[in-house]
Symmetry: C2
C-alpha cells in the first residue's frame, strides 16, 4: 500500500489517497505533478519513463482512452472526498473511509471478516482531515456501539448496515 499526499510549508499534511495493488500512480502526466508518495507496506512498483510511456501510447489510442478512464475515475473519487472533507462529521468520515476501503479490498479478492488497516492513525487522520485523537476516539465510539471491533492492524466490521447508513450521510 502506498500513501499519496501533499504537504503545506509548515508541515501540515493531506493524504489524497491510498494506492492498492494494481493502481496506477501519477495518472496526470503533467509536467510537475505535485503529489508525493511513500509506502505504507512493502510494495512492488513499476515505473515508466514519461517520454517512453507517452511515446508508446502514440498510435495506441485505446491505451490513452484507458488512461483517461482511470484519471476520470480518480477525479470522481477526489470529488467524493471533497464532500467528505467539506461537509461530513468525524464519525461519517470514518464510516466512509472504512466502507470504501472494504470495497476496494473486496474487489481485489481480499475480502475478509477483518478489514486490514496497515496505515497509522496519523495517516487516517491526515486522509480524513482530522487529528489522530479524534480518529482514535471515533474508533472507540464505534466499538462501544458494537459497530466495529478494533483489532491489531485492522477492524472487524460487525454492523455493516450501520456503517453503510453513516457513510450514506
Amino acid at each position: 500500500m502506498v500513501r499519496l499526499y501533499k504537504l503545506l510549508p509548515d508541515g501540515r499534511r493531506q493524504i489524497v489517497g491510498f494506492a492498492l495493488a494494481g493502481d496506477f500512480l501519477g495518472l496526470a502526466l503533467l509536467d510537475r505533478y505535485g503529489v508525493s508518495a511513500d509506502t505504507v507496506t512493502d510494495a512492488k512498483v513499476c515505473r515508466f519513463d514519461r517520454r517512453v510511456f507517452t511515446g508508446y501510447m502514440d498510435g495506441r489510442p485505446h491505451l490513452l482512452r484507458r488512461l483517461h478512464e482511470l484519471t476520470s475515475h480518480e477525479l470522481s473519487l477526489a470529488q467524493e472526498q471533497m464532500v467528505v472533507l467539506g461537509r461530513r462529521s468525524a464519525e461519517e468520515r470514518l464510516a466512509v473511509f472504512l466502507m470504501s476501503l472494504l470495497k476496494r479490498f473486496t474487489r481485489l479478492g481480499q475480502g475478509s471478516i477483518t478489514l486490514p488497516l496497515p496505515m497509522s492513525r496519523q495517516d487516517i487522520a491526515d486522509f480524513l482531515g482530522l487529528t489522530i485523537e479524534t480518529v482514535s476516539r471515533t474508533f472507540t465510539k464505534l466499538a462501544k456501539n458494537r459497530t466495529i471491533i478494533v483489532v491489531p492492524d485492522g477492524v472487524r466490521l460487525v454492523d455493516r448496515a450501520r456503517l453503510e447508513a453513516l457513510a450514506a450521510g
Copy 2:
C-alpha cells in the same frame, strides 16, 4: 459562471468547482457522472451528445490527449482543494479561494482591480466547507486588516502579498 456540486441526502452541499468561460464540464465521460451543475450568472453552454463526441474523438488522438490533459488538470485542482478542505483555516481558505479566482479571471483577460464574486456567500461557504456566517465574518476580518475591501458583488484585493502569504499557508 456555473457551479458544480454534490449533494448529500439530507441536503448538505459541497460545491466542487466553479466553471468559467471556456471551461469543459463533465470531463470524465463516465457512465454516471455524479456532479450537478447550475448557473451562477447567465452562461452559454455547448452540449455534446456523449456517443457522438466519443465517436468524433476516435481517430483524433490529439483531441483525446487534450481531454486527458484537461481531466488531469482538474484532478490536480481537486487534490489541491482536498488540502484546503482538510487542513486549512477559514482565513486561509478564503485567501486561497480569492487568489485562485483572481488568477483564473486574469488568464481570461478579465483581470481588474476589483475581483468579481457573482456567487452568493452560501456558494462560497459550500465550496470552502464553511458556513455562510464564517465566510461573512472572515471577509469582515480581512477587510478590517486592510487586506481587502468588500464591494457589492466583489472584493478589491488591496494587500495581495498578504493574501498570497495566507494562501501559501
